[in-house]
Symmetry: C2
Subunit: 268 residues, 2 copies
């Protein structure tokens, strides 16, 4: 057994990278396949992969109001459906990983993570730890989970990334998103948006303060949530690289620590 005690790299692949968010259950299998190839090529000694829900988890969870918690019996089926479509998307990811000879094992958050008002309250890490020690790559994903207060809710991939990075003292976090990095405005709608190539914790906090204004929430897209989750990770001294997962070799280079277009966030 490849007994590894190395600090793992946490790689997050956004739902908007591996699915078409405008479609319904629309997986981008070519991108999934390319990313599996890049992971196999980079071959980090120890890796945990987390992916988002994109057009699988989100529309289903939204339709049934899963995030807001239990309100009526009909939602029970909605919870089951949300988890099920996420396992379908995860299945496509696992298919590509195993095909590229990565010893990846899926770890469904719904059967391990208990949240309280949407925040992770408990998770028994024993199995994930054991998998990593043996040389497996645990794969988790945003999922519908049971919640101590709400009955159930949605646990985001981003919250999982931060939790796992802190729990397993990751050596770095790589966030594969659908734009080139972290911008001062939405690059998809604002031509003058500028990307930050490097941010310190202090600078990130300033950026967050600007983002947090409710009126600009939608401008920054899914980035607000990501930054909020990542702050404690950076604070702990774990560097975070935000790179474009839809463009070839960016994730590969970030995994290998090579110079790559994107935003690198370091404590100081």
């Amino acid at each position: 057994m490849n007994v590894s005690e190395k600090r793992p790299v946490i790689l997050k692949i956004g739902g908007s990278v591996i699915t078409d968010k405008d479609g319904e259950l629309a997986a981008r299998t070519e991108i999934i396949n390319r990313l599996a190839e890049e992971i196999a090529k980079a071959k980090p000694t120890s890796l945990i992969l987390v992916h988002g829900g994109g057009s699988f988890g989100h529309p289903t969870a939204q339709k049934w109001g899963i995030k807001e918690g239990y309100k009526e019996p009909a939602q029970m089926l909605g919870f089951a459906e949300t988890h099920h479509v996420m396992t379908v998307l995860n299945g496509l990811v696992m298919d590509a990983l195993v095909w590229h000879e990565i010893p990846a094992v899926s770890v469904a958050p719904s059967c391990g993570f208990l949240t309280e008002n949407g925040r992770i309250k408990s998770f028994d890490c024993t199995m994930v730890e054991r998998m990593m020690k043996m040389g497996f790559t645990p794969v988790l994903y945003g999922d519908a989970t049971l919640d101590e207060k709400l009955g159930f809710t949605v646990l985001s991939g981003d919250q999982l990334v931060a939790y796992l990075a802190l729990k397993f003292n990751a050596c770095k976090v790589v966030m594969g998103v659908d734009c080139d990095g972290l911008y001062d405005a939405d690059p998809k709608t604002d031509k003058n948006a500028k990307m930050y190539p490097h941010l310190t914790l202090k600078e990130l906090q300033t950026v967050q303060a600007k983002m947090a204004k409710p009126t600009t929430n939608d401008v920054t897209g899914g980035m607000v949530g990501k930054v909020n989750e990542l702050l404690p990770v950076v604070e702990k001294g774990i560097p975070v690289a935000i790179v474009n997962g839809t463009k070839a070799s960016r994730v590969y280079r970030a995994l290998g620590g090579e110079k790559v277009e994107g935003t690198l966030i370091e404590k100081a």
Copy 2:
């Protein structure tokens, strides 16, 4: 929330029922669909479903010697592949259950069960318990699992059934198999084979003693393992019904406690 404290029914669906064991990754989707319909119609107050691996898990596990434990690095991928194909089969089962409006949630054994020399050593039941209390139907399956002594192994659906039946004090166990019940010989090869319509614990022990002879192991097919696992369940006073899952309405009737062709095993 449908807070249920009822003793659950444990339903096992054999891999030879929902797959063609002579094929490779050959699911019998019509049977899966019919069984989901029967479960939805029977609507047990509290249910745990367990299914086998059939032509998904078994050939893959066998090819890589997963059951025998870790011997060489190449098996790492075999473990990943075995778990992956099982999640694919499970996905087909979940699809049918959700389609029939059963609030079913898959619980992957590989990320929760730790075995020791192939026997369940630990499993944190909290999440499954919580799911049942809320009215969900947890769905488990035979899977590749990590093993304290062997590195990894294969955990059979039958062992899971016995474990869950004892852990949750099941009100009954229904075993859906690919023949009409428990026979004194292999009904597929022996025309004179007689089915036991009813057995007491004592009678089952006598049957087991006969089956346990190595030379007759293959004659009784997968039944030897089943009987061995089920003995402690019957001993605890939990009745076990063995019925033909490939024939319409047998599982439905057994779930509802109706008279049905098959073998009923009771303590006395």
